[in-house]
Structure formats: structure tokens, C-alpha cells
């Protein structure tokens, strides 16, 4: 819309607080200037209806229609560019007016009276909300009229963890740590083994006096006294096995096994 310089700046709707119907009179003079003062045709209609200074339930719709159409004509005379919905409303109101003036028997449904009533109801509804808003804003408002305590101490609920741990869990955890982290060295120290060197020594010396094939197990020390320990026997067997492999590799012994997992036999290689 184009404003000529002598037209006052329209009031920015975001800056003003709605003042209810009180300002309607003041606006009367400048009616044709305040295109921006209304939020759409319904708003304008409501304002015009209020100018009738009667209860919204008793307004004259015909009079209202005339006022609206007059306003639109004025605006057009001033060559103000009207938004389309103002013009659509004007057309509809013109239709409503003519229908209201027509003989009754030619009416379609809904009747123009019904339409006029609905328009009136719409205006009442909007008017009611305008007034309700004004009354709401006028109440004793927190932070404006009534105040909360300025410096409340505040309530605090501190959550405190009550930690639980069972005796067994503690001990078990220590056991787990020990198992996980005890170095291998520790176990070697405690364990009885037959070293590879001693096994080689034992196997090769026994092999030297043997005549025929001997089962690997026969090279182990007799299973009594200190050699009764099954762990030690496993170690001796393993070491003797490796010793046998070593002797075979160096060409001092022959190995033979007739079937898978069968007895492993060995015999000295005569030079």
C-alpha cells in the first residue's frame, strides 16, 4: 500500500497492547487512514459494529454492510490498495445485502437471515475474545502486580548413593585380579618340571645302553617318590618327547609310531 506523506505512520500491532473497544471513538476520524489498524475484514467489521454503540447481539447487519462497503469505497477513492480478502468480503456482504432485501420465497438455503446471524455470531465470538484478552491482561499478574519471593533459599534434594558390596564379591574380585595378573613366572617358580636339558641328558644316556626299540614312556623316571607327582610326570613326558625329537633331528635317534596316537618308540642310531 502506498502512503502519502501526510498519512500518519500506522501503529505497529506488535508494539501496542490491545486496549479493547475504548479506542474506537478516537479512530473514527481517521477511519479511512488506518488500513493497517485492522487484522483483516472481520476485525474491521467488528470495529464498525462497535461504532453502532449497541450490544453486538443487536447490531444491524444491513447498517454494518453499508458501513463496510462505504469504507471500501473510501479506500478505493484514496486509491489505497486493498488486500484481496477485504474485497472478497465486500463482494460477499453486497450479496448478503441484496439477498436480505429480496422477497423471502426465493431464498436458498441457508437463508440470508441465517447468514446474517452467523456473521453476527462470528463478530460476537471475536468480540468476546477481545474482551476476555483485555480482562486477562488486566488481572493481577505475577511479576507485575503480585510477586514471588525475591530470594528463595531453594529446596534441594541431594541424591546420595548408598553403595553396596558383599564380602564374597570383594574376595572373589581379588581372586580374579590375582588370576588375571599373576605373572607366569610365579607359577614356574612353584612348579616341579623336568627341564629339556635334563631330559636330553637322560634320554640320550638311556638310549646309549638300550638295544631295541623303547617306548618313550619307558624313559621317564619311575613313578614313585618325588616323581609320583602327576604334574611332574606330564612335564617329564613332554620334555622327553622334545628330547627325542631333538635327538632324532641331530641324527642320534630314530623315531617310530605305528598308528596315530599309538606308542612312540625310539632307538639309538648306531654310528
Amino acid at each position: 500500500m502506498e502512503l502519502t506523506p501526510d498519512i500518519p505512520e500506522p501503529v505497529d500491532a506488535s508494539e501496542i497492547e490491545w486496549e479493547g473497544a475504548a479506542s474506537a471513538d478516537e479512530r473514527k476520524e481517521a477511519l479511512y487512514l488506518e488500513i493497517d489498524g485492522w487484522e483483516g475484514p472481520l476485525d474491521l467489521l467488528l470495529d464498525l459494529a462497535r461504532r453502532q454503540k449497541v450490544d453486538l447481539r443487536k447490531i444491524s447487519i444491513l447498517e454494518l454492510v453499508d458501513q463496510y462497503l462505504t469504507y471500501i469505497e473510501q479506500a478505493e477513492a484514496l486509491r489505497l490498495e486493498l488486500a484481496a480478502d477485504y474485497l472478497v468480503m465486500a463482494a460477499w456482504l453486497a450479496y448478503l445485502k441484496s439477498a436480505l432485501l429480496l422477497p423471502k420465497d426465493e431464498q436458498e438455503d441457508p437463508s440470508p437471515e441465517e447468514l446474517a446471524l452467523r456473521l453476527q455470531l462470528r463478530l460476537q465470538r471475536l468480540g468476546a475474545m477481545r474482551e476476555a484478552a483485555a480482562r486477562l491482561m488486566g488481572r493481577d499478574r505475577l511479576g507485575r502486580d503480585v510477586f514471588l519471593r525475591g530470594a528463595p533459599e531453594g529446596l534441594r534434594v541431594d541424591r546420595k548413593n548408598l553403595w553396596q558390596c558383599e564380602w564374597f564379591d570383594l574376595i572373589r574380585a581379588y581372586g580374579d585380579v590375582k588370576i588375571r595378573s599373576e605373572p607366569v613366572v610365579h607359577m614356574v617358580r612353584e612348579r616341579m618340571v623336568m627341564t629339556l636339558d635334563s631330559a636330553i641328558q637322560r634320554v640320550s644316556s638311556m638310549l646309549g645302553v638300550a638295544i631295541d626299540w623303547m617306548d618313550l614312556r619307558d624313559f621317564l623316571p619311575p613313578a614313585h617318590d618325588s616323581w609320583a607327582n602327576p604334574q611332574l610326570r606330564k612335564s617329564a613326558l613332554a620334555s622327553s618327547f622334545v628330547a627325542a625329537l631333538e635327538l632324532a633331528r641331530t641324527g642320534k635317534a630314530e623315531l617310530a609310531q605305528e598308528e596315530t596316537f599309538g606308542p612312540l618308540r625310539l632307538k639309538a642310531v648306531k654310528p
Binding site: P41, D85, A132, R139
Partner: protein, 228 residues
Amino acid sequence: MNAPEQASAPDDLVRAVEATLFAAEQPMTVDQISAHLGQADVRPALAELQRHYERRGIHLVERGRRWHFQTAPDLAHLLRREKEELRRLSRAATEVLAIVAYHEPVSRAEIEAIRGVQTAKGTLDVLMEAGWVRVAGRREVPGRPVIYATTAEFLAHFGLASLKELPGIDELRAAGLLDPVDDDMIETAMGRSSQDEGEENTGEQDGGDTDEEGRDDSDGLASSCHNP
């Protein structure tokens, strides 16, 4: 004017409720107060405190099921001067707020039907930012539009125990002015063609808030209503 409860020292529970609400930074529900005080039944204490304070410079009030102390309204003139000014709401925002409060839960399309104009996205945002309006779900109709309602803060701010205390609400309801709007003829007359409604629904189906923005842009016709 001797109120009997003023004649003697309050009992321990009354004192505890008094101290708790006095120290609280937020209004508290009965359940919250009760939980704070070892599940005691605090209602009688609240009633006694409310009576005790009703003629004092501080009042104990219930707003949307939450209780708080506040200064007496009649002393507003003494206290107002030092307090910062509330941000003034635009006329559109106050109107939308009233419509939400009197019609809740209400969709944006319903708000617009009452006001006869499109509602700028920022208007509802301002009200939500103020903490007075919240999204209260979606209406189970085609398009599943978002619906809005007021909050406990709204009640507290405007000094309402509940929405039943909204000024004039009973009369408005009796006059049928709070009934749902269902008036296609006038909708059409106001330039909100059925085509617009269709777009609106599509927009709302997209969900979230983004649809609102899109609508403001796409409804060039409607926006130009008051901003030619």
C-alpha cells in the same frame, strides 16, 4: 476478627509446609510438598496456612494445582515500581492467548477461524516462549493438526486457580460463544477458500513446527490481508 488459627503457634507440620513453600523456587503440587515432608498429608496444613495468610501482606495461593506464596494484590502499587516491566504482548498475541485459554485444546486453524485472519508463526512462539502455551498433542482428525493448551505457569501468572476462573467463561459458554466454529460460508467470504484449508492440512501432516513457517510463506494472500 480473631481467626482461631492465629491465636496459637502453628503445629510442626504447618510450620514445615510454610517453610518449604517459602523456600521453594517453584510452585509445588500437594504431592511434591508431601514427598518433601515424608509423605505427610499436607492438605489441612495448606488450608490452615491459606487462612492464616489471607489478610496478611503475603498470600498463599493455589494455581493450577500448584501452591506458592505471593504478595497481596492490593499492595501492587508499592511493589511495582522497582520491578522490571513485563514485556508487552502484541494485540494479536493477547487475543491468541485468550482464545487458547477459553477454547483449549485448540488448533491453529481454529484460532484463525475465530480471529478471521492468519496467525503469524511468531505469535504462538511468543506465547510458548513465555511458558503460557504448550503443544498439547494432535487432534485425531484428517491432517492431525497440532493442538495448543495453556500451562500451569499461565494460571500462576494471571492469578487463576484453574481455567474455571477465567473471567466470564461461564457466561460465554452459556451464550454459545465458545462452541466450535463451523461456518464454511463465512470462511469462504473471508477469503479463506477451501483450497487454502487443503494446503493447511497438507502442511500439518508434515508435522513439527516447520510446517507453520511454510504456511505463512505460501499463504501470500492471507499475509497480505493486514500488510498490503
